[in-house]
């Protein structure tokens, strides 16, 4: 019986060899195809990786990690595809599909070399499969309906069994009626921790799935027939302000793994207050020499980007998609453009016909969140959230990175307490005068 250390060492070596083998094959002579074998071939046997010991568990904001047990040296997982109700934010619930009662599905967390058996039960009204996006699996485990396997009929449970030959961040999702099933919310992330980390483990390791939806205001069902005109953009199937903040202690090594299973849109995720590096994609780790500093990472459709940084800058920092339509909730695009229109007495004229009518957008739409006009039921269009300096008008793909010194818990620490005189404020006349600023926009008395 080999010792645990021997396992680890041999595993690392084997794993490294497996990882390198494709490159070796590419450099190798094509006349020796028998040497080209997949990463899972000849994988040494490892004991199942244990959290805290073999890895620091990830945090899935607004989500959970998929539980498992060990049977005969393999980790046993059970995914149940089923209709679920998702609350995108208070005020908007919808009938979606998900795994194990939620969308996004639970994060599957394993360690490089782990063997797994995954049981997939289909409680959907139609057949489904599961595809393990980015994971190097035997062809018959890849989950493409028709191509690799028969579909799982409603009411049946299929078994997938394979090993995770390389570390990284991957995704799982159906490969049957993709338009409907991904559009209804069937997705989840897979994190494979390295058996032998070559770098320090992150202190805070966040997993965020990006997705987009169309839910017509007043309805409670994602419209999966929409092709481009999506109106909800989610982190783990939640929109701001319901997205849980990313809390880190000052000095923590922070990792964020973004996966994107949106139907049509790439998402340039911008993190305020920091520079970071992309360290990994769903294809594997980037060598340190290939990384360059970023403030925005573009996460393409059907891809993963993992970024690392050290949380050295305390404060409440916006983390958001930089597509401006992706930071709105259920905003329609059918409003009239009323910027700079002189309304005259239109409010009264239309109000006589339609009591309660209000003309908006005359100076832009910045105030829409504050007006809180009556809306259709189950609608969160333009709802703002109050923060310490006023309402935040953004929605959708927004969360807040909260970095604090001396945290004792990763619970939401509340609003950031700014050191004295470190918040932008109205300039005093003396300051304007001292600095020679003349055109101050002040209205003449």
């Amino acid at each position: 019986m080999p010792t645990r250390r021997e396992f680890l060492v041999s595993g690392a070596v084997a794993s490294g060899a497996a990882m390198l083998s494709p490159q070796a094959r590419g450099a190798d002579t094509p006349s020796a195809p028998t040497a080209a074998v997949p990463a899972y071939a000849n994988l040494p046997v490892f004991p199942p990786g244990e959290p805290g010991q073999d890895y620091t568990p990830v945090v899935t904001p607004n989500g959970v990690t998929l539980p498992w047990k060990v049977v005969g040296g393999a980790k046993i997982f059970h995914l149940v595809a089923e209709p679920v109700e998702d609350e995108f934010a208070p005020g908007l619930k919808a009938h979606c599909w998900g795994y194990n009662g939620r969308t996004s599905g639970p994060t599957m967390e394993v360690v490089e070399g782990d063997r797994v058996r995954i049981y997939v039960t289909n409680k959907l009204p139609e057949a489904t499969t599961v595809h393990w996006h980015g994971v190097i699996v035997p062809n018959g485990m890849d989950g493409v309906h028709g191509l690799n396997q028969p579909a799982i009929p409603p009411g049946e449970t299929f078994r997938y069994e394979f090993a995770f030959p390389r570390p990284g961040t991957f995704m799982y999702h159906p490969h049957f009626d993709e338009l409907t099933q991904l559009g209804m919310g069937l997705n989840g992330m897979i994190v494979v921790h390295p058996r032998q980390p070559t770098q320090p483990r992150p202190d805070r390791d966040f997993v965020i799935m990006l997705n987009e939806w169309f839910i017509d205001p007043g309805t409670s069902r994602p419209n999966t027939l929409i092709m481009t005109d999506f109106n909800l953009f989610t982190f783990n199937s939640k929109v701001f302000p319901a997205t849980e903040p990313l809390v880190a202690r000052q000095g923590d090594r922070v990792r964020i793994r973004f996966g994107n299973l949106s139907a049509q849109d790439h998402h340039p995720i911008h993190i305020h207050g920091y520079s970071f590096a992309v360290v990994e994609t769903d294809g594997g780790q980037l060598p340190p020499t290939a990384r360059w500093p970023e403030a925005t990472v573009l996460v393409p459709v059907g891809a993963v980007r993992t970024i690392d940084f050290v949380a050295d800058n305390p404060g409440d920092w916006a983390v958001h998609c930089h597509m401006t339509h992706h930071v709105m909730n259920q905003m329609g695009h059918d409003s009239l453009l009323l910027m700079d229109v002189d309304p005259g007495d239109l409010n009264e004229k239309i109000g006589r016909l339609l009591p309660g009518y209000m003309t908006t957008g005359l100076t832009g739409n910045g105030g829409m969140g504050e007006m809180r006009m009556a809306l259709p039921p189950n609608t969160i269009a333009m709802k703002g959230i109050d923060y310490q300096f006023g309402p935040i008008g953004m929605g959708g793909m927004v969360t807040v990175l909260k970095v604090r010194p001396n945290l004792t818990s990763y619970e939401d620490p509340g609003w950031y307490q700014h050191p004295d005189d470190t918040v932008a404020r109205r300039a005093t006349a003396q300051e304007l005068s001292d600095d020679g600023v003349k055109d101050t926009g002040a209205k003449p008395a």
Partner: protein, 474 residues
Amino acid sequence: MMRAFGLMMVLGILAGCAAVPKDAGLADIQRRTQSRLGQHVQWNRGTEEDHQADEAVHRLLSEEIGPAQAVQIALLNNRRLQAAFQELGLAQAALVQAGLLKNPIFDFERRFHNDGNNKAMEFAVMDDFLHVLLIPLRRRLAAVDLERTKSQVLADILELSAQVQASFYHLQADAQILQMRRTVLEAAEAAYELAQRMQKAGNLNDLALAREQVAYEQARLDLSTVEQGVIEDRERLNTLMGLWGADVTWRIESRLPDLPPEEMNLDHLERRAIETNVDLAALYQRLETAGRQVGLTRTVSAISQVQLGAHVEREPDGLWTAGPALSLPLPLFDQGQAAAASAKARFVQWWNQYTALAVEIRSRVRRVRDVLRLTRQQVIFYRDLVLPLQQRVTEQALLRYNAMQMTQFELLQTKREQVDAGMRYIKALRDYWIARAELEHALAGHVLQETTAGSDSRKGAEDRTGRANPGSDS
């Protein structure tokens, strides 16, 4: 000769004594109008009552008038109806005439003989003596004709009432629709104004502006069309109510009456219509007249030229002779057969007219009954379902506008659609009331107390033909 004169005098006195109604049946018509329509009619004959009727008209005109008031004004003030009343006078005169003897013809001859001395004279008084025998028959005919005229006048009254009601409901509906069209115009105007303001700020293209403008201009035209309708409705009522000059400024109750909760009794409508329809009654009386004339004609043509008289003659020798005279047509050629055939043809003609009208009345009453039922359903459908739904649509549209899912243009269009539904509701309600008025007309007024007189007379018609016909209820 003297005896013959005496007989003629006696007959003449007898004929003159037969009862002729002094008011030509006006009181009867007034009573029937009151019981059937609940309205008063007045035959203006230069009396104090004329003045009272005139005052009543002006009193009614001074306040907001409803359908009943409009009918009352028309019944008192419509000059064609007054002209129809004159028919009563004519019929009454005919009845009197029928009771009078023909004036006798005095015949005088003076003959001169060539000897110059002897003067002969001859007097004769001749009359269609046998005509006297026909007086009771003629009087019966004239009396029936007066009844027919009364029925005709009553029919005119009912027709006028129905026309006034229909015109009135049209006016009320159009007046309400006019208000709604103004709302539509306001909505279109607001949209157009918004479009103009947007274009001025550089936010709207010319096509979109033109579309809003065309909708606005069309709304103005639509308003104008309804204004035209209101004018036509008012003038129709002015005509029917006999108004002109300063009297045409009357105002109406602004809303159509609500749907009555209970529908009028729609049982046995065909029978009731046949029994009570005054047009049919008038035609029946005409038929009766024609029937009597069939028997009369041959007699009349045979005896009409028979003249009896007294003859007094002074012979040239100075001798007076006197004696009866008889003038008799010889029925060699005209034995009255053509006149009799004509009268018979006339009777059959009226019989067919009568039957045809009965068929029409039955069809009409069925149609109006079904229209009444359907329009009632439509009104209820609009009132209880469509209008609340349209209100909900507008409210939901406002919510979607608030959620930036809808433009002001769409929002205002939704409002216009809501008003459109309101207009359709008003039209359905109008059609209901018009159908109701038409049904009342078909049933000769809404209070149906006097049905026996008409049905009795037509029972005779059925007896005569010996078979069921559309003019009677089997």
